[in-house]
Symmetry: C2
Subunit: 409 residues, 2 copies
């Protein structure tokens, strides 16, 4: 079992971080807009990117830089997505070159990420000019990880940061991550950035396998508004300083322990993202059980958490379970609607509202209380098989519209 610890991306041995304001965000000089994460030694590295056909320039650069499965640093900016923007790849490469020069490594060992407005030229000069200050701010501390976590935020209202510790071959192995994601989060990597560091010794093949497995059951099971972004990136650096016997195959005990620790970390960060959906007042946890397969359960749970009408009902603390059934029904999955049961539950209690596909009489006052809690669970039971899945989403609020009605200015 992995235990949660402090320290974020600086929890693992041999990692330093920094986050400062250099001027990419022009309207808010007090807001950090560039983050740097550096390992003392070369790392095995892997990443998962957006499936959007329109891909931001940094993603194209990162793919090339990850061809050898190695990297040493991650440089990220907020305030500009460097997507559909003039000189996109050139500017992404200039970011890598500036970081490489500052820390003394090859340009190809730097990964780069951007998040913010699409279609405007990135002020790469500000990042280049700020590099000495960013380099000077690097340190291995909880504060440094915190600064980096803040520097990648856009409309996020809370920073997302977590770290876990596990034991492999008698050695303490740590994993830490920072993430951003608020609007546009959706299954298949809606705009989210997540940077993970670990001191585990693990081969490029196995770190990639672990990351793919874990992203599928964490970040790909959240949704804020159904839009997926041009910039989504989840990457991991592993520097091996924990001294465990290097993981090179999936049947090693160490691999299972590592994968479980990574899963705990990513589910924690994913839930924080869903919970911080733009303007969101509620985290919605949708559990589907009795499905014919995990895929079927996941499709149904995602349809429910993505339904704008269900999200609006949760915002209003309205036990409108008909919308839950309706969203299940248009998910594309087949099931017997006459064998569906639905409960709403939270720390305030549990209300069963539907059984055998029909409405039950229920205590409306209790339902209101249950749905007024921050974390609200929608529990769906079907009679199709033994598979289950949990997905996470959030409600839709006036503030979502406000935040997104005029984002560019």
């Amino acid at each position: 079992m992995a235990d949660f610890i402090k320290g974020g991306v600086c929890a693992a041995q041999g990692f330093q971080a920094a986050g400062i304001h250099v001027g990419v965000k022009t309207h808010a000089s007090w807001k950090k807009d560039v983050a740097l994460i550096v390992s003392d030694v070369e790392c095995t590295a892997a990443a998962v990117f957006t499936k959007n056909v329109v891909k931001a320039a940094p993603i194209r650069v990162d793919k090339a830089h990850l061809a050898d499965g190695k990297a040493r640093a991650i440089l990220a900016n907020s305030g500009n997505a460097n997507a559909c923007a003039p000189s996109g790849e050139e500017n992404a490469m200039r970011m890598c070159a500036a970081a490489a020069k500052a820390i003394g490594c090859k340009t190809e060992d730097v990964l780069v990420s951007s998040t913010g407005v699409i279609g405007q030229r990135l002020n790469v000069e500000a990042i280049e000019d700020g590099m000495p200050e960013l380099r000077a701010a690097l340190e291995r501390s909880a504060e440094a990880s915190d600064a980096a976590a803040h520097a990648i935020m856009t409309t996020d209202t809370i920073k997302k940061e977590a770290a876990v510790e596990t034991v492999i071959d008698g050695k303490t192995v740590r994993l830490g991550g920072i993430a951003k994601g608020s609007g546009m989060i959706h299954p298949n990597m809606g705009t989210m950035l997540c940077f993970i560091t670990t001191d585990c010794a693990i081969s490029p093949e196995m770190i990639k396998a672990a990351l793919l497995e874990v992203v599928r059951v964490s970040f790909n099971r959240i949704s804020v508004d159904g839009d997926t972004s041009t910039n989504d990136t989840c990457c991991i650096l592993a520097n091996g300083l924990a001294g465990n016997h290097p993981i090179t195959a999936a049947d090693q005990a160490g691999y299972t322990a590592f994968r479980e620790a990574l899963e705990s970390l990513c589910i924690k960060l994913a839930m924080e993202m869903a919970s911080d959906g733009e303007g969101a007042k509620h985290l919605i946890i949708c559990d589907v059980s009795g499905a014919k397969s995990v895929e079927s359960a996941e499709t149904i749970a995602k349809s429910v958490i993505s339904s704008t009408l269900t999200k609006a009902a949760i915002f209003g603390a309205d036990a409108n379970w008909g919308r839950v059934l309706c969203a299940m029904g248009y998910s594309g999955e087949t099931f017997d609607p006459d064998k569906v049961a639905v409960c709403f539950s939270s720390s305030a209690g549990t209300v069963k509202v539907c059984e055998d596909g029909r409405g039950l009489a229920f205590d409306e006052d209790l339902a209101k209380k249950v749905l007024s809690e921050h974390d609200v669970q929608i529990q769906i039971t079907m009679d199709e098989g033994g598979a289950s899945c949990t997905c996470w989403g959030c409600d839709i609020t006036y503030d979502y519209i406000k935040i997104n009605g005029d984002y560019r200015t």
Copy 2:
């Protein structure tokens, strides 16, 4: 060419309509909640229903009643969807029986529709008790069609009603329709009801073919919030009183004229629905051209009009074209993003904001003016082929959240 005329569902010869309050809507005694449309003689009939796996009881009844391709009347209520509700089919059948008795036809010649809250028992007694009054209110007049159009409204803010006239075999043929639809409208028949009457003489096979063809290019190209409903129904009655040579094959000139008239009618009603999306302030018209196929153009256009972020940008009159490209990118279609151009246009002018997949400098003041009009066009040009498609949607506003945050009370 079909010309728009007055009269709604009473425009065609031999049709009467009525709309009154009987008590299904308990919170608003002044709001009509039951509509009846009756033909003087038996009609050929066809319908298209929701693809949602969870289907309301009236839909199951209608499918049985349409097995012979004949019908004489449509009875519809608002205020309760009779979906996932106790005694659903029994109550839908009781509605048919009551109407059949009142107008003197077979129960199987009555079609039934319901719209409103899911999961609560329908007050069918109120409909039965109100039947004599509803029967007495039947007449062939623009006022009667208006009353029926109002009686099927739920959160709709404007009634949807249209009629067209064309000439087939030297005979004047009229088609008229009423519709409701506001929340949950989406491609593949989100909660919408549409009832069409015509005096055209046409076989059951050909009226079904025409309806399927036309629904695909009208109602299935609109979206309000991505949710599709349990109750969607579009049905048509044709009583043959126009006296044209009966249409029995697709290669008859009459069929083309009829189909075109039906298309004009349905596109008009579909645009009114999109325009009246819950809380909407803008109609969004998305034109995609240069696509490799109509299907590809349609998938891309639907992805854009369904994107919550694009809808929020139009609400804010923000020329955030990056979100348009982003929505194109996650549509599932492949295309070269570097060959995409985007314009925003309206009666206030046209602003080109993106060319070759890159942002252009544009006049922000003009863009604001263009996007402040009610009808806003998003024109997307690609370089994949010669196909094009238009889809219709609306913006998302504070009022959408308000309307849907507490719908049941």
